[in-house]
């Protein structure tokens, strides 16, 4: 087998977010040429370069585009990594953070903090608490069933619906101004990106992804049946809870800032599996890179193709669902 091709492919995937990040800094309502961009980027080190730059470009780059791209990168990576990890953990390629109720729990928690606590409790923390509660309810109900997968999917739907109802209640009680903000946020977009939110979300996402990447091979073993994983010498209760804790953490940290951005956790890991196979040693880190690149590109498209911004969550769902159907039909599940 030719070993060069997969190696080149993974190098390409890992470098992709870096290129997209740099190129995307030029994209937006105000076009900034690459020459000016480079000058702006190094201007903090060489202050003399600031002269001759268009007014505002410093502000646009450092306070608008960089935070927004960082958020896109982090959210794209965390949704993809949590998707890939949960699929391995639940031994089911169709599972993701939405199906397990994690997203709805996180969305409710974040909304609760925004409307009732006025941000005194960071929405990330409140989102995390309810994400964990939601997924633990799902696990508790599904645990005793004879067909765990069906039970898991069904209880996931039920628990999601329950938290969506709670979220509706929060929306109902919110003031019109808060409602407008909630509505924009929930549809999934990155406009809220600012350094204050990033200061909380980025470290949480960074640590969560790092630990899951360290556990990438363990996820292979955890994707075996529980009986097998136990006989192979794994404390499955402890390790399962750790993975659930970490995926809930990164999903909550992403959802609290960017709202619900769907389908990335399903599409990206599948794309990676089609490219490099199912070994999680490759799937988990490559999903992070590809997911980060994908969301930055999707956000570029939605913020520049019309005179108004379309929430990127709508875009990922509109693209993601047909894309997924085509993939399923075409490849006859061969990569699963």
């Amino acid at each position: 087998m030719n070993k060069q091709r997969p190696r080149a492919l993974s190098l390409f995937v890992y470098l992709l977010p870096l290129f997209i990040f740099l190129l995307s800094l030029c994209v937006g309502t105000v076009h900034i040429p690459i020459k000016d961009l480079l000058k702006t980027l190094i201007s903090p080190i060489f202050p003399s370069l600031k002269q001759g730059l268009p007014a505002n470009s410093l502000n646009i780059i450092f306070n608008v585009r960089i935070p927004r791209l960082l958020l896109g990168l982090a959210v794209g990576a965390s949704l993809s990594v949590s998707g890939a990890s949960l699929q391995a953990l639940f031994k089911n390629p169709l599972v993701n953070e939405y199906i397990l109720g994690i997203s709805s729990g996180a969305a409710f928690g974040a909304a609760l903090s925004m409307v009732f606590f006025g941000g005194n409790i960071p929405p990330q923390i409140s989102a995390f608490v309810f994400a964990i509660i939601a997924v633990l309810i799902v696990l508790l109900i599904a645990r005793k069933s004879d067909s765990p997968i069906i039970a898991l999917l069904l209880t996931g739907v039920i628990v999601s619906a329950f938290f969506s109802a709670l979220l509706s209640l929060v929306e109902f009680l919110a003031s019109p101004y808060e409602l407008q903000a909630l509505f924009n946020w929930l549809m999934g977009n990155l406009w809220k990106a600012g350094w204050t939110d990033l200061a909380i979300s980025l470290p949480l996402i960074g640590v969560g992804i790092l630990v899951l990447v360290l556990m990438r091979w363990r996820l292979n073993v955890l994707s075996m049946s529980d009986e097998e994983a136990r006989s192979l010498g794994i404390n499955i209760r402890k390790e399962k809870l750790l993975v659930i804790f970490l995926t809930a953490l990164i999903t909550a940290a992403a959802t609290a800032v960017a709202g619900i951005i769907g389908w990335i956790g399903l599409i990206i890991p599948h794309l990676v599996r089609m490219m490099v196979g199912v070994d999680n040693r490759k799937v988990v880190p490559m999903s992070a890179a590809l997911g980060a690149g994908f969301l930055m590109v999707a956000d570029n498209i939605t913020r520049s193709f019309a005179s108004f911004e379309v929430p990127v969550g709508i875009f990922t769902s509109l693209i993601g669902i047909p894309f997924f159907i085509v993939l399923l039909r075409k490849s006859k599940k061969a990569w699963l």
Binding site: K91, W217, S225, G233, G277, V278, A334, L336
Partner: protein
């Protein structure tokens, strides 16, 4: 290493397993036989700590299996499941590598040394050339061998196989039992296996355990314990034992 069972009880719904005392000898192959539902698989799963047996009922060389940590136990004892389903199509080598889990901390990936051990295990079951093949492409006989290779990569002294020959053709059946025998004789492993084919069990086993309704009915060397009355008691049909040319045949 020998495995000792001491006053083991396991209940599940209206089934109950009870074994008073039994010892699986070191470097010997012991087969457990009996009708469907006799509790053979439950017994194996208790020994492997997949099902929770009470502490103080199972011992490896005097050490309580129930009190061991998962990875500690998995280094002494490997379990090869009867049926196997996986949602993900790992390569054969990735699959066998999972046998190294008991030696690797939670945040580690296998080292080149682990890969060598997995590759050697595959070669031992004569599937070395299958390393990069997708698991889903294998026949059921080949999948059994891969599962055995994964257990061998665990480098445990005790190997427990749950019906390793069910649904296999005679050639693969013979191959797998000969392999198990070889592991007992050459690698001095303690082999515990459940079987349905009595002729094969008699031919390959150093000791046999007959089970019925969750109880051990007879235990000992095949030649010492095998008789027509025992077979009729265990299986509830008449069978004849024919000894010819130094071999034993059981005719239904």
């Amino acid at each position: 290493m020998s495995v000792t069972v001491q006053n083991l009880t396991y209940r599940y719904r209206n089934f109950s397993l009870h074994v008073e005392h039994l010892q699986f000898e070191s470097a010997k192959m012991t087969s457990i036989v009996g009708p469907n539902g006799a509790g053979k698989t439950t017994f194996l799963k208790c020994i492997s700590a997949i099902l929770p047996a009470a502490k103080g009922s199972l011992f490896i060389e005097g050490r309580d299996i129930g009190a061991m940590r998962e990875n500690e136990r998995a280094r002494l004892l490997a379990y090869v499941p009867q049926e196997h389903a996986t949602a993900f199509n790992y390569t054969v080598l990735d699959f066998v590598l999972m046998g190294r889990a008991a030696y690797l901390p939670i945040f580690s990936s296998p080292s080149p040394g682990d890969v060598t051990i997995a590759q050697e295990a595959l070669e031992f079951v004569s599937l070395g050339h299958f390393a990069s093949r997708p698991y889903f492409q294998l026949s059921s006989g080949e999948r059994r061998l891969v599962l055995i290779a994964r257990a061998l990569a665990q480098k445990s002294n005790i190997l427990i196989l749950d019906e390793p020959t069910s649904f296999l053709d005679p050639k693969h059946e013979t191959e797998i039992l000969a392999l198990a025998k070889k592991l007992a004789e050459e690698k001095k492993k303690t082999i515990i296996v459940t079987l349905h084919n009595l002729d094969m069990a008699v031919k390959y086993s150093d000791a046999m355990v007959f089970m019925k309704e969750g109880q051990v009915v007879a235990f000992g060397k095949p030649d010492d314990i095998l008789n027509e009355a025992l077979l009729e008691n265990v299986y509830e049909i008449k069978m004849s034992i024919i000894r010819y040319d130094g071999r034993t045949f059981i005719v239904k």
